[in-house]
């Protein structure tokens, strides 16, 4: 099995990114490329569903950090859902749960994105 595989699907205005496996310095380029492609395509509302993400290092956090300003400048956002305990611990320990909106599941994240579009 590859260290990381990434799939993307579009649900309404939201691009849902599903990384599966490990994001570290070896695999981060693929993750970064996937995020950058969405931004280049003008898809600024992004949900990273982490249900199959077993692990993320600071390299992965850096990839998200590197694009957060760009998507927010375009009235989009990067949302996170379904974080496993160890992945949540990394975000939470660094205080990043204040910077990103984290949802327990994709349904809640989509509802939040939907109500935002309507407001």
């Amino acid at each position: 099995m590859a260290d990381l595989s990434i799939s993307v699907r579009q649900v309404g205005d939201v691009a849902v990114l599903l990384p599966a496996g490990f994001i570290n310095a070896h695999t981060v380029r693929d993750f970064e490329d996937a995020l950058e492609k969405l931004v280049q395509d003008g898809r600024y509302m992004i949900l990273v569903n982490c249900k199959d993400l077993n692990y993320i290092s600071s390299a992965g956090l850096g990839a998200i950090m590197g694009l957060i300003e760009t998507v927010r400048e375009h009235e989009g956002d990067i949302l996170l859902s379904n974080l496993q305990d160890n992945v949540f611990a990394i975000f939470d320990t660094l205080g990043f749960t204040q910077l990103y909106r984290v949802f327990s599941d994709e349904e809640q994240a989509m509802a939040a994105a939907s109500s935002e579009r309507q407001s």
Binding site: D3, F22, N24, A25, H26, Y55, S57, S58, A59, L61, G62, A63, M65, G66, I68, E69, D85, N86, A89, I90, T93, L94, G95, F96, Q98, L99
Partner: protein, 141 residues
């Protein structure tokens, strides 16, 4: 538990990170840490070895990174040696998370994660061998 130690030498290539972090996690469980603590040790080791590969060796893959795991009754120690550029403890500047959140940017988080997830993080240079060392210590509670 008897004191025990063993060593692993890997090429300075990120493709081996997963191997090393898996080992660190398993070693943590053997040492008596719980799953959550083992995951944190695993992340800290990832960050330390990544720093060696990307920064100490500048991404050059033909060097070696040597890891030693030491099990004692009080702690799990992970020593990481390399012959690249070293940093001293007084050069270890941790970003302020609050400032980081106000001004997001890439990089700088690895040391912070290491220091938050381990009980001790030490950087040393051995003048005799010429090797630099990063030592990570997790206490067994």
């Amino acid at each position: 538990m008897d004191h025990a130690q063993f060593r692993l030498i890997i090429p300075s290539q990120t493709r081996y990170l997963n191997l090393v972090t898996g080992l660190a996690k398993r070693a943590s469980l053997v040492a008596g840490l719980d799953d959550a603590a083992a995951a944190k040790v695993s992340i800290a080791v990832d960050e330390a070895v990544t720093n060696v590969i990307l920064h100490a060796y500048g991404g050059e893959g033909e060097h070696s990174v040597e890891l030693e795991l030491r099990f004692t009754e009080q702690a799990l120690e992970i020593h990481i040696w390399h012959s690249g550029l070293g940093i001293r403890g007084d050069q270890m500047v941790l970003p302020d998370p609050k400032e980081y959140i106000k001004h997001p940017r890439k990089g700088g988080l690895g040391l912070l994660l290491m220091s938050r997830f381990m009980d001790e993080v030490q950087f040393k240079a051995d003048e005799v061998s010429g090797l630099n060392e990063c030592c990570l210590i997790k206490k067994i509670s």
